[in-house]
Symmetry: C2
Subunit: 505 residues, 2 copies
């Protein structure tokens, strides 16, 4: 690997440069690793790959903590190598998912704003090695992250040892993009002084005790691009419904034409819905989010968004070229912060965000399942959706009304796993329409959701359930023995749809 | 009613004094009322009672918004009078509960920190009349609340009209006890400058536009006392388990001997558990809570607690005499704030609270039901438990392992309503023991909960469920068609207990 010692401005650290294999050899069975990386961006790559190589000849297990999901198939190969004991707080890989659901390794699904707090409080095992990707190390010993910040600041601050991966293919122009701020211990902490999406409150790099740096590795791996899922008919309709809702809010005087800072979750649906704002009347928008996907840059290019704050940038190949090839154009419109700050309840509540996240399913009372397919199998994790939904001014969840060609209704009597309770969900949107649940009692919500959001093929079946439930009474009427009947039908018959009700319509 | 005009220092307001019946006559069908009152303390009483009188001769309905539950049987008589359209955000009355569950009026169960925000944002109907109990009105037009603050500040600030009930039996010594602070609009808001439980950040009364005051009523009704439920064998055991857990945290260096500011929920269990700290080694404790029950004053008297912040004081008759008879003794150890501040995520996270709330039931994966008996019937409401649990340093839930003489297991396969998700629950405690769930994956949590917290009579039955679920796999293994079997057994057989499993043990 080509060394570029100019990227290490503190020359007393030059001696620490090693090969990835060397660095990987320091890691022992039972250790806990804190890796940089947040939804495919800015992950440490060389040392984890070398660790996977080592696993071919050696048996060991480690805990892998990150910001969120890793790119470059790292979660896949780490999982396949059989070296993971515990993984947290988020992943989004098909192979890892399979191993988690088979019980082959443990996964802890956490609110993304909570992990750093738990590390600081000593509740999670101490990080033995923080392994973080960097653009450079400054003369005063700060590590400049690359395309994500994630939990890296908490990892390097509280780890016993640090390994830095300097990625020479990441432009030094990234320096200045980041804003690193770590709250003090709880109980000795001052207010976080951020009051606008574009405020800067910290340093441009991660200040570290350089004595803890055990090794520095040079790399050239680029982030893996996101697959492009172009907007389809349904996502366009969802965007239109969302825009209608926001327009109503403006008419009612509850929002101005530049709305409120926007957060949009990961995944193809949220990206497509955000994209839909390009042709809306809203202007001078700001983004205060977790991940910036393609849509945010399209909105910047269209002159709709004038500032975007996040903890990671996750782009398609095409968009990567455009953004990183023209960084000067975007620099003053972007800031990357620790996920603890992007997702902090204090900030989300203060700024009054509009938060748009994707649900797997929701129920007739407005409870949302973001994580567990049929209540048992982990999809990705709750990510930041809970941090945002609980504290946002507007907690919006979007999903297509059906999945798998109609065999699944995304609206069910009772979600088979609850990630966001009825107390936290303001508005739900499908391609059928939206339901504004704010200030409504459960019985009112059920009516509105069934009328506005459910696919026509499932309306009768859900109405029938609700009517039977009403005969039993209660604040939140249910027929408990049938509450999961949609899910058990799916398991038994391959579809949630019941013939009788279908033919009855 | 005896008038005491000295309690209205701004003499330009003396003309506004009216009888309660007069004031009640201004309220029209379809209006929304914002009443002071939080868990039996500081409720407006005279005008609501006059309104109930009016309902004997007239048909009308109103929305009733409060801080939390009302005392003096107000929720009972309002509900019986049939004049409620919608009630929010919390209640705790048996008659009202029955009417809610029968669908006779609507109830919206909200996080107690959210209501004021929704009023400020214009999401809930505007308050037509704020009706608030007061000790006095100052010369500069501030309303001094009595024994609770609740949502009164948001009500008077955003209401069209205000009616003040001056309670002459409440001591003027209460002036100075309160600290009133209202955050600005979201997006234009500064950090809330509170960094310690005993900080004062606002004014001693509620500054109002006196032009909005339509009437002032003099009253003498005292708050209704809490029933005394003395600690029993089980609650003493729970307190001991909680203390053991906290002691371990001190040993591990994660807490110091004065712990962290404590919050304890309403109800007999939480009160008894807090009481248990009297004989512990912990000292110099602080309370940052929602309601102060008897136990907090016992802890103050015992020299264990040196400061307590809350939005309401709810005491037994005995303790009322002691506290209000010796207010000088307690004054500098107490502050009463709006519930938006006592329950604010920003503050709860900043201070790093230890939060202790009572669950109705929890499941083997750590999801908690605080509100719905058998998933459908409203008990009281989520109250502040979600505000605290999500943001506390330690979110602890306590409950007896069985209820109704053993016919109910408070630990079930799947809670029939989710108020607090697995992501938000750190520690669960029953009289059997505690389970520290922090950093554990669902499969690990289930083992620990079944081993440590479940009553012996239900252990085999829950183990059998978990083992069958494991054969199905998943991150969170379940047998969906049996997930609510405990609840359906109870409905069918009057007990959750299954004979086969019992005899199998
Ligand atoms: C919910 C989530 C999985 C949706 O992802 P997405 O890419 O936007 O949505 P899609 O509609 O393409 O659905 C993804 C898959 O789930 C399936 N699916 C959708 N609804 C389903 C349901 N109710 N039951 C089972 N499967 C469902 C889809 O069919 C699709 O399957 P495929 O991959 O085999 O084609 C994703 O947004 C997520 O993980 N969210 C949780 C984390 C989060 O919200 N973070 C926010 C802050 S970043
Ligand atoms: C959960 C809550 C109802 C418990 O109240 P409590 O007085 O401490 O507890 P108890 O054990 O006496 O239980 C109250 C009743 O529920 C019953 N109960 C307890 N567990 C039950 C269960 N799993 N299923 C059905 N009923 C149950 C009890 O038998 C008792 O019934 P009774 O009144 O007929 O005797 C109460 O704490 C609450 O409303 N909590 C939600 C709000 C909150 O947590 N606020 C916190 C911030 S203030």
């Amino acid at each position: 690997m080509e060394k570029n010692l100019e990227r290490i401005k503190d020359s007393s650290l030059h001696d620490l440069v090693v090969q990835a294999e060397n660095a990987a050899s320091w890691i022992r069975d039972g250790m806990t690793l804190g890796l940089s990386g947040f939804t495919r961006a800015g992950d440490a790559k060389a040392v984890p790959f070398a660790l996977v190589e080592r696993a071919k000849k050696e048996k060991f297990k480690v805990n892998i903590f990150t910001g969120a999901s890793l790119g470059s198939d790292l979660d896949k190969v780490l999982s396949e190598a059989g070296i993971i004991n515990k993984r947290l707080p988020f992943q989004a890989d098909a192979t890892m998912r399979k191993n988690i659901n088979a019980g082959n390794h443990l996964f802890v699904d956490q609110h993304l704003s909570h992990t750093a707090e738990m590390i600081r409080n000593g509740v999670l095992p101490q990080i033995d090695f923080a392994i973080v990707e960097a653009v450079s190390i400054t003369a005063d010993g700060m590590i400049i992250p690359t395309t994500s910040v994630g939990n890296s600041l908490a990892f390097v601050t509280h780890a016993k040892n640090i390994i830095v991966e300097i990625n020479v293919d990441q432009s030094e122009q990234l320096e200045g993009l980041h804003d690193l701020y770590e709250p003090a211990e709880q109980g000795r902490r001052l207010p976080i002084p951020l009051t606008k999406a574009d405020d800067r409150i910290g340093t441009v790099g991660m200040p570290v005790d350089t004595d803890k740096i055990r090794g520095i590795v040079f790399t050239k791996y680029m982030d893996s691009p996101s697959p492009i899922v172009p907007p389809d008919h349904e996502t366009e309709e969802m965007a239109q419904h969302l825009i209608s809702f926001l327009r109503e809010e403006v008419h009612a005087g509850r929002l101005s034409n530049n709305l409120a800072p926007l957060q949009a979750g990961i995944g193809s649906v949220a990206n497509a819905v955000l994209h839909g704002l390009i042709d809306s009347e809203f202007e001078d928008l700001q983004v205060y989010s977790e991940v910036l996907q393609d849509s945010v840059f399209e909105l910047i290019d269209a002159g709709k968004v004038n500032f975007a704050s996040a903890c990671s940038i996750t782009l398609s190949e095409e968009m990567m070229k455009q953004v990183y090839g023209n960084l000067e154009k975007y620099r003053d419109k972007l800031v990357l912060r620790p996920q603890e700050i992007t997702n902090h309840p204090e900030i989300i509540r203060r700024l009054g965000l509009i938060s748009i996240n994707t649900a797997l399913e929701f129920d007739i009372y407005g409870n949302v399942n973001s994580t567990h397919v049929s209540g048992t199998k982990m999809m990705n994790g709750i990510g930041g959706s809970g941090d945002f939904a609980r504290n946002a001014k507007l907690a919006i969840f979007v999903t297509k009304s059906i999945a798998k060609g109609g065999n699944i209704s995304s609206i069910v009597p009772f979600v088979a796993h609850v990630d966001h309770t009825e107390h936290d969900v303001d508005v739900v949107v499908t391609e059928q329409g939206y339901a504004d649940l704010r200030g409504l009692a459960p019985r009112e919500r059920a009516q509105l959701i069934i009328n506005n959001c459910v696919h026509p093929m499932y309306k009768a079946q859900l109405r029938q359930y609700f009517e039977e439930a009403l005969t039993r009474g209660g604040q939140t009427p249910h027929v408990l023995e049938k509450a999961f009947s949609f899910h058990t039908n799916l398991a038994k018959n391959g579809t949630m749809l019941v013939e009788e009700v279908k033919s009855y319509v």
